[in-house]
């Protein structure tokens, strides 16, 4: 932990306004992006964002530096708030369900080719396919590929274990590939 982080946490524990402002400046943008990925409406995303930081400022005493970094801890709160908001919201999230569908059975080589060989058209197809993923799966994919978080960190954020996250990632990767095949057909 850096010295800046230590002083920031100490300020937050004192409920210091300047420390809170500093926290928002440092982590606010990433947290908002994380929420906006999961929650489609901007107004809802703003509401959840505010709830997240109110929770962070009120529960800073519970933060354990030995378990995770401050960023990961905030990310965990944001993830949980967004997921619970989606559960409560009346608008149903339509996502692709691949249970028992063998029509688009894929080999490992096909999956690697789809994601590995640079192709602009495939990138657009992947973007379209990402929209059909359930929010939690999409969050895991983003945390792993875009934010480059480790399996342990993702497991902490989603309150899971690294091996489960690894198998979820593998499954979601194949699922994305199947959705692409469906879109193409």
């Amino acid at each position: 932990m850096t010295e800046t982080e230590v002083s920031l946490i100490a300020g937050l524990q004192r409920q210091d306004r300047s420390a809170q402002q500093q926290m928002l400046d440092s982590y606010g943008r990433d947290v908002f992006a994380q929420i906006a990925r999961l929650i489609p409406g901007i107004e809802d995303a703003e509401e959840v964002y505010q709830d997240v930081f109110v929770k962070v400022f009120r529960n800073i005493g519970k933060y354990d530096a030995e378990k995770s970094s401050l960023r990961t801890w905030v990310s965990r709160i944001a993830y949980n708030e967004a997921i619970s908001f989606l559960r409560k919201s009346p608008a149903a999230v339509i996502s692709y369900d691949d249970n028992g569908i063998d029509a688009y059975a894929l080999t490992d080589a096909e999956v690697e080719e789809t994601f590995g060989q640079p192709n602009a058209e495939t990138v657009q197809l992947i973007r379209a396919a990402l929209k059909h993923l359930p929010p939690d799966e999409r969050a895991i994919i983003t945390m792993f590929y875009y934010e480059e978080m480790s399996l342990k960190e993702i497991a902490y954020v989603t309150e899971s274990i690294p091996t489960t996250i690894a198998s979820k990632l593998s499954r979601t990767r194949r699922k994305l590939c199947r959705i692409i095949k469906m879109i193409q057909s």
Partner: protein, 208 residues
């Protein structure tokens, strides 16, 4: 899958990473005043919080006051309670009972029973170092169950104590052995005889 394999996968899936980068770029931008609004909300929440605290403190104070008053009044209530309950029961009893006019004539048999006739015995009886010169004659129950008893008002029923004249043995055998006068005479005679025997024994012992 191991962590290393997963890291390799991350490097390998270039298309997926590009797609996610484009998606991130397409995300709505965070409003510039969002943090300011959040800070305002935090500030406005603060007095609300303290107001809530005051409310809870007031509720707690009221509860303490009620408990205090209750504690001071509780012993009095406990003392008064049986009296009130008794009073109510009496009232209820009186309401439930059939209303009959009190008959002064009915009181006379009660008084007669209480004033049992005293008859002097023939000889004094020693009992527990006290000389009993008089015996109380009890009136048999058969006499008490005369016409006077039947005229008793219902309000005095709880004051009459009835006893069974016949014992279980006499009830089964059919022989009447429960005349109180007979029973008492036998008992007195027995005591007298025992006293005589004891006196004789003492005299014999002293002489020897």
């Amino acid at each position: 899958m191991k962590e290393e394999d997963m890291n390799h996968l991350r490097q390998q899936d270039q298309n997926l990473r590009d797609a996610l980068c484009q998606e991130e770029a397409a995300l709505p931008q965070m409003p510039a005043d969002l943090n300011a609004r959040l800070m305002q909300r935090m500030e406005s929440d603060q007095p609300k919080h303290s107001r809530t605290m005051w409310r809870w403190m007031a509720v707690a104070a009221c509860l303490l006051l009620i408990i205090g008053i209750g504690y001071t009044l509780l012993p009095k209530e406990q003392q008064d309670e049986p009296l009130v309950a008794q009073h109510e029961t009496e009232c209820q009893k009186q309401e439930d009972m059939p209303k009959t006019e009190p008959e002064p004539q009915a009181e006379e048999p009660q008084q007669q029973l209480a004033k049992a006739e005293v008859k002097p015995s023939q000889k004094p009886v020693k009992k527990q170092r006290k000389v009993v010169t008089k015996l109380v004659e009890l009136i048999p129950a058969s006499e008490a169950e005369s016409t006077n008893m039947k005229t008793l008002p219902s309000s005095v029923i709880d004051k009459v104590k009835a006893y069974d004249q016949q014992s279980d043995l006499s009830r089964t055998t059919g022989i009447d052995d429960t005349d109180p006068l007979v029973a008492m005479a036998v008992q007195v005679e027995d005591i007298r005889q025992r006293g005589k025997r004891l006196e004789e024994e003492i005299t014999a012992f002293m002489n020897n």
